[in-house]
């Protein structure tokens, strides 16, 4: 995806060569900017395929034409030249101009972009906050920032200081930047239609108190976070009051607290992300209509660690996710009317912890492999449905060959309940005595919730695309 975004960059490059040829004209037209943004926008559409490539050629031709007719001014900033400060170039530029920043270190306190501009780094120039300033503040709509290295914004408890902070703007693009050692990486505040793509955010914070989030969005709408790599921050991606947004193909690894954290963020989509080795996994709360598909949750281990913590989530859809080697795969509390399909739970301590406060959730076509415990719950009250899942511990038979086991499967084992009440009993897991007790419980259930069962367990793991009569 990052390489595809290169043609957006090269469009800007074309206009630059015109400007360099002293074709002086006042402004880069707003139309041009829109076209650039349109192309860029389309880059990340899931259907952006070959037919789109043809379109982009068309756009490029139109752009070439526009660039000839309505060339914008390009300001080149380089250390040692007459224009050696980014701030000066921004001050001189008219809206919709381009500022090219050549390799070098720029220590200018905080740089503020207060008009629509294209800021492009060539040879990865460094914007250094010297641990005191916010390197880049964007206070205007229609700004694109790419190719920079932004670092050392310092840390403060008073302001949410960030490497790149966007204030109340629309159509801001932050792409292909490296953000190092910042408190917050990219901070979107009360903004709409923003893109944060292909950035790498690395922080070396060690404690939660001294770290901000990689991508932080507050009170936003229609923002798109894609292809970023976040590590070492407090939360990889943090959403609060962010609606109608997408989070795709990001990888949040080794963050101090959560890989992904959101609250009150309705109608959002999370696709193809990887959340691994984070302090406490992923925690999402108080949100409705979440769509989480094809994500990877791995190796989130610890006494308070969940691959995915769902608290007060309503009407959501989780499908095709992989939960591998986590202490707890999904922990659900107060979760209602959600569907869990085709997820793969492998080698987790507890694949699913389903609190009795959850209701009307459906678990269908999920595969459970080699988990220590498949499901555990805290009460005999069960208001959720399990159907057609594959359980590797199922020992029933299928006499009529309809691919479903003929006897129901009870995924809550006695020892899961015992170890919930007496966690240190965990040490006797896999003991022959415990095996015998479990067997006795299976024959005559007394402690485990009888209603929590799969009446049609699959005999073979579910393979995507299979239909059953």
């Amino acid at each position: 995806m990052i390489c595809e975004s290169d043609d957006a960059v090269c469009i800007v490059g074309v206009t630059r060569s015109h400007a360099d040829n002293n074709l002086t004209a006042s402004n880069f037209s707003q139309t041009t900017f829109f076209l650039v943004s349109l192309i860029f926008f389309n880059q990340f559409r899931p259907d952006g395929g070959p037919q789109y490539m043809k379109k982009s050629i068309l756009y490029i031709s139109i752009l070439l034409f526009c660039a000839g007719v309505l060339p914008a001014r390009t300001w080149t900033v380089a250390p040692g030249s007459s224009l050696s400060r980014v701030g000066d170039a921004i001050a001189k530029a008219k809206p919709y101009d381009t500022v090219l920043v050549h390799a070098g270190t720029y220590r200018e306190g905080g740089i503020t972009v207060d008009k629509p501009l294209t800021l492009r780094g060539i040879g990865r120039p460094l914007l250094d906050g010297e641990n005191r300033y916010q390197p880049l503040s964007i206070r205007s709509s229609y700004v694109s920032v790419s190719g920079f290295r932004v670092s050392n914004c310092g840390a403060t408890s008073l302001d949410d200081i960030a490497g790149i902070k966007v204030y109340h703007a629309r159509y801001v693009y932050v792409f292909n930047n490296i953000l190092e050692n910042n408190y917050f990486g990219v901070y979107l505040s009360a903004s709409k239609h923003c893109w944060v793509t292909g950035n790498r955010m690395i922080s070396n914070a060690t404690v939660e108190q001294n770290a901000g989030n990689g991508v932080h969005a507050w009170k936003c709408d229609r923002v798109h976070i894609a292809d970023n790599q976040v590590s070492g921050h407090r939360d990889g991606i943090y959403f609060e009051f962010v609606t109608n947004s997408t989070v795709r193909r990001n990888s949040c690894i080794n963050n101090i607290r959560y890989g992904l954290h959101f609250m009150f963020s309705h109608n959002d989509e999370y696709e193809n992300n990887t959340f691994a080795h984070n302090g406490a996994g992923v925690a999402v709360m108080y949100t409705r209509n979440v769509r989480m598909v094809h994500n990877n949750f791995a190796d989130n281990r610890g006494s308070a660690s969940y691959a995915l913590l769902l608290k007060d989530i309503q009407g959501s859809y989780l499908a095709d996710n992989k939960f591998t080697e986590n202490t707890i795969g999904i922990f659900m509390e107060g979760c209602t009317r959600s569907t869990f399909e085709r997820n793969d739970f492998r080698k987790n301590g507890w694949a699913l912890k389903l609190q009795a406060s959850c209701e009307n959730n459906v678990f269908r076509h999920n595969n459970f492999f080699a988990n220590t415990f498949d499901v555990s719950t805290n009460n005999k009250l069960v208001l959720n449905t399990f159907e057609r899942n594959y359980w590797d511990k199922y020992e029933g038979y299928d006499l009529n060959r309809d691919q479903f086991g003929d006897v129901p499967y009870h995924p809550v084992s006695l020892f899961a309940i015992v170890s919930d009440q007496m966690p240190y009993a965990m040490m006797f897991w896999r003991s022959f005595t415990v095996f015998l007790l479990d067997r006795a419980e299976k024959v005559i259930p007394s402690l485990s919730p009888d209603k929590l069962r799969d009446d049609s367990p699959l005999m073979k793991p579910y393979v995507t695309g299979t239909t059953y009569q």
């Binding site: 281990r301 610890g302 006494s303 660690s305 080697e325 986590n326 202490t327 707890i328 080698k347 987790n348 301590g349 507890w350 492999f369 080699a370 220590t372 415990f373 590797d392 170890s419 009440q421 007496m422 966690p423 240190y424 009993a425 965990m426 040490m427 006797f428 897991w429 896999r430 003991s431 022959f432 005595t433 415990v434 095996f435 015998l436």
Partner: protein, 280 residues
């Protein structure tokens, strides 16, 4: 002393002679024991059984992890049973051989340890071929190695216990009874008792006590070593983390290995002590 005078004679005869301690003699005896066991064919059957079981576990389960889990049950139940019962019976059956050896200018401890070496070696080889080879073939990872090492150590420990059970009584039926009781206690009873007392004292902080109790049973030590490999994710949760911290650390792993060695050495040492003074 009352039993027979014919046995008395060689013993008095040895008094006059120089009894020499030599590892070579011990190894020689061990060699004869191994020959004898091979003639017996039981160990061969045991080995074939292990091969069949482990191959089928690995072939039936698509995931080697599940194969390992099933194999773990075999190692925790069948292996101790076979080791302790077979070693007990064999030692009783080779009493005549031992009596013959005792007539020679050999130290009693050497004869006894030679017997132990031969028995332990043949059972370990059977286990190594029967489980070790399939495990390394299908799952050549650290956990596979841990499984094999645990199995070998358990074999040694239970053969030691068998030898202790044998020297404690001249009566074969009684000796086998003691051996079976030891097996039953270690594999089933002990965990049951500890679990029950945990229920009874669940109001108290028992975490550390439970760790201590694990050292009192070789089967539990082996099981926990494997648990760390197979259920690491679950052990990281809640107080399970305590066990993970303890047994997963170098100190904890070293201590449990030492405890396991103690389970091998201690019964054997006691058995040698009894055997040395025993009236044959």
């Amino acid at each position: 002393m009352k039993i027979s005078t014919t046995i008395e004679l060689p013993q008095s005869a040895t008094l006059g002679m120089q009894t020499t301690h030599s590892p070579m003699q011990m190894l020689n005896i061990a060699k004869y024991v191994v020959y004898d066991i091979l003639r017996n064919k039981f160990v061969l059957a045991y080995m074939l059984f292990l091969v069949a079981v482990s191959m089928s576990f690995f072939n039936l389960e698509s995931d080697p992890t599940k194969g390992m889990m099933s194999l773990l049950n075999i190692i925790l139940i069948v292996l101790p049973l076979v080791s302790i019962v077979f070693a007990t019976i064999h030692l009783y059956n080779s009493y005549e051989f031992m009596e013959l050896m005792l007539a020679q200018p050999l130290r009693r401890a050497d004869i006894f340890l030679g017997q132990y070496l031969g028995m332990a070696a043949s059972l370990c080889i059977a286990f190594g071929v029967g489980v070790g080879v399939p495990v390394l073939l299908y799952d050549g990872s650290v956990r596979g190695l841990v499984l094999v090492v645990c199995g070998l150590l358990l074999t040694l420990a239970f053969v030691s216990m068998a030898f202790l059970a044998t020297v404690l009584s001249r009566d074969k039926a009684r000796g086998i009874g003691v051996a079976l009781l030891l097996w039953f206690f270690c594999t089933i009873l002990y965990d049951g008792i500890v679990l029950m007392s945990m229920f009874a004292f669940s109001d108290y902080p028992l975490e550390k006590a439970v760790i201590g109790l694990a050292f009192l049973n070789p089967v539990d030590l082996a099981r926990i070593a494997m648990l760390l490999q197979l259920d690491a994710a679950a052990l990281m949760g809640y107080t399970g983390a305590l066990f993970q911290h303890f047994f997963g650390s170098t100190v904890g792993a070293g201590l449990s290995f030492l405890a396991m060695l103690l389970w091998i050495v201690l019964p054997l040492w006691l058995a040698v002590r009894v055997f040395r003074k025993k009236d044959i």
